[in-house]
Symmetry: C2
Subunit: 151 residues, 2 copies
């Protein structure tokens, strides 16, 4: 019985490892390249929302929806791309990501929850809602960058 | 069936158009950085689908859905990021993108229509469907890279 249990345990560990492996990166530099790419895509679309919120370009409810969808999805993606060992190389990520994972997780969760408000604002189609939500998302970006990214 | 296919095609064309309309890059290098980032994100998630389709990692219907959503969205994004003048700099994009826009558009549309089949495969949750759709999307990637990207 104990042997069987041990067998199951080993099997589930093996499965877990392969699943994580599929969600991970072959090399630390792959993770770094990927997370920078995710941030570039997120930043590009968020800046378009920001430009509309600030009245720099005309408000367009359809474009808000499109750009918001990209921000919302990319806001979920980068967090799997900070494996141990990816603190070296072409990256500005601070060691605090690995030293204080609880605080880093809080920063991620803040972005995720604020991006859901952005979704609600996109659905409402009102520029006032966009202004409020974009400011909140921008705050979440800044909070994380201030704490976890070198200048 | 033909009508359904035509519906998909029209939908992808509509999406393509709307994303192009929202395209705004201050400098050609911004467009280059953005399109490379989109491709990195798309490639990362598509390779995870490919690994499952090829049996290199265990098939997981939930992960198929998650990765497919990223591939499907990013497959729409890059095409607005090939403005005139972005042929110079840190890019492997061939001049044919601007010399033969009709052919380039066809290559984009092929990826978009194949990625919608990938969506159907993700919904079916069957590995055989994933294999077929992933091969078709991979063919669309290769077709575009062969014609429009330097080695």
């Amino acid at each position: 019985m104990k042997l069987k249990l041990m067998g199951y345990l080993l099997l589930s560990l093996a499965l877990l490892t392969s699943f994580s492996a599929s969600a991970q990166f072959a090399k630390p530099e792959d993770a770094i390249k990927y997370r920078k790419s995710v941030m570039t895509v997120m930043g590009t679309h968020f800046s378009r929302l920001g430009a509309m919120a600030q009245g720099k370009v005309p408000f367009d409810a359809k474009q808000v929806v499109e750009n918001e969808a990209v921000v919302e999805l990319t806001a979920k993606l980068a967090w799997a791309a900070f494996p141990e060992g990816s603190d070296k190389g072409e990256t500005k990520t601070k060691a605090d990501v690995w030293k204080d994972p609880v605080k880093f997780k809080e920063a991620q969760d803040k972005l995720l929850s604020e991006s859901l408000k952005l979704n609600a604002a996109a659905k409402s189609g009102k520029i006032e809602d966009l202004k409020t939500a974009a400011a909140a998302v921008g705050g979440a970006c800044k909070n994380c960058h201030d704490n976890f990214k070198d200048k």
